[in-house]
Amino acid sequence: MKDERQRDGLVDILLVEDNPADVNMLRESFRESKIGNELHVVNDGERALDFLHQRGAFTTAPRPDLVLLDIGLPKMSGLDVLAEIKADPDLRRIPVIILTTSESEEDVFKSYDLHANSFITKPVHLTQLFELLKTIEDFWFGIVKLPSR
C-alpha cells in the first residue's frame, strides 16, 4: 500500500543483473535519485525467485515494489524468471521491467507475451541512463497507482 511505502519513505527495487559493472552503474545512478529507494541486487534467476518467494537466504527479504530484470542471466534466463513471476498469482502484480542490452524484436515480443510490464533497452550513454532512471521513478512511483503489498 502506498501508506506503507511512505512509512519508511523507501521503495524497494529488486535488480536482477549478473554484470557487476552494470549493477554498480545502476547503483550509482539510483543513489543520485530523489526518491528514497532501497536497491536489492541478485545476480541470477534462481536467486531472484528465492528473493521473491522469501526463501533460502532471503527469508527476511521485503516484497519489492518493482523488479528490474535482465534477460541474459546465468542458469535461468530472465524470460524464464518472468514467466514464473507472471504465472504466480501472488507475484504477478509486481511490475516487472525488462532491462537488457538486447534490441532484438524477438526478445521484445517474448517479453510482452509473458506479460512484462515494459521492455527497456539499456541506454548506451550515461546521461540517457540517468534520464531513464528518473523516468522510471517518476512513472512507477509518481504517476502509476500500484496495488497494495
Partner: protein
Amino acid sequence: MPERGIPQGKRRTREQDAGIQRQIAFATDLFYGDARMRTLLESLAEGIVIIDSSRTILLVNAAAENMFGYRREELIGKPHAILIPERLREIHEEDQTRYFAEPRIRPMGALLDLVARRRDGSEFPVEISLSFIESENGILVMALVSDITVRKRAEDDLLAANTELQRSNRELELFASVTSHDLQEPLHTITSYTELLAHKYREKLDQQADAYMHYIVDAATHMHLMINDLLAYARIGTRGKPFEPVAMDAVLGLALNNLRKSIEESGATVERGELPEVDGDGVQLTELWQNLIGNAVKFRKKDMPLQVRISAERRGSEWVFGVRDNGIGIEPRFFGRIFEVFRQLHPREEYAGSGMGLAICRKIVERHGGRIWVESAFGEGTSFFFTLPVRGIDHER
C-alpha cells in the same frame, strides 16, 4: 515351369527352349517388323527391355545395350534378373509377380528409386516405366529404362547443398544473436564507465584526459553502430518475410515519414513520381528507400537546397526506380565500391555512419531479384537506380 529370376539357371527343357524362341520371334516381329518403328525404338535415349511372363528377355534396343554393357545377343533369351543387382532380386521378383497378376501402365516417377546392374557388376540408378501388351502369346511387359545417374547426382548435390545452407543459416542466426547480446555488453560497459569517469572526475582530470575519454566513447559508440548494422545486414537473408504485393508508394511514404525530421532540418524538397506495386518484403523495401533518401540528405551540398526526385519507369519485364539528388556526388572510381560492407568514402568526423547503408540496400535489392547501381557527376549530384521485377511475369531467377 521356366526358372524364374535366376540368371544362368538350371537348363531349360527343349520344349521350354522352343517356347522361348517362339516368343522372341513374336516380339521381334511385333516391334521390329516395321522399319520405321525399329528406327524409332533404336534411336531412343531410353533403354527398352521387353520380357514375357516367364521374365525372359525377348528384346532390347541399342540404348539398353549401352546402358547395361551387354550386346543384345547376350541378353535375349536370358532371365531379366541379370539386369538387377543380386541383393534386390527377391524384392524385384515379388514386385514383378504382382505386376503380372494385375498389369497396368506405370508412369515414370511412380516407382521408387531403382537400381540396375551392368555387365561388369557395377550399379546405376534408373527410373523405369512399365507398360504391357496382351498378345495371343500372353502378356508382354515393356520396360522403358532411363539412366538417372547424372540427375541423381545433381539431386544429391542439391540436397547436400540445401542441408549445408540450412546449417549455415542456423549458425548465422546463432552468431547474430550472440552478436546482439554478448558483444554489445562489454561495449556498453566501456562507454558508460568512461562517461562516469568523465562525470565524476571532471575537475580532477585535465583537458587532454577529456579528449582521450571522448575518443574511447566515440570508438565504442561507432562499434555499437557497426555491430547493429552488420546484424541487420546478416539478417536480410535469414529473417526476411515472404514476398507479398507491396505498394511502393506506401512504403516510400513510410520511409519519408521516418526521415521527416532530417528532411525538414535540411530543407529538402522531395518530388515523388507515380510508383507501381511490386512483389516484396515491405519492411525491407521501406528500409531501402529510407537508406537511399537518407543518403541524399546526408551527402547534400551545404550551400544549396537539396532536391530529391523519386521515379519509376518500366523497362521490359522490370521496373527501374530512381532516387536522384543534387548533392555532392560521387567520383566514378568509387561507383562499385560504395556497395561493399563497411565502405566509407568520407572521414567519420565529416559524415557519421557505419558504412553499411548501401551494402544493406544491395542485399535487399538482390533478395528481390533486382540490381542496384549509381550514376553521378562528381560535384553535381547522385542518382541511385534499382530494378525490381514487374509483378505477374514469370521471371527466371
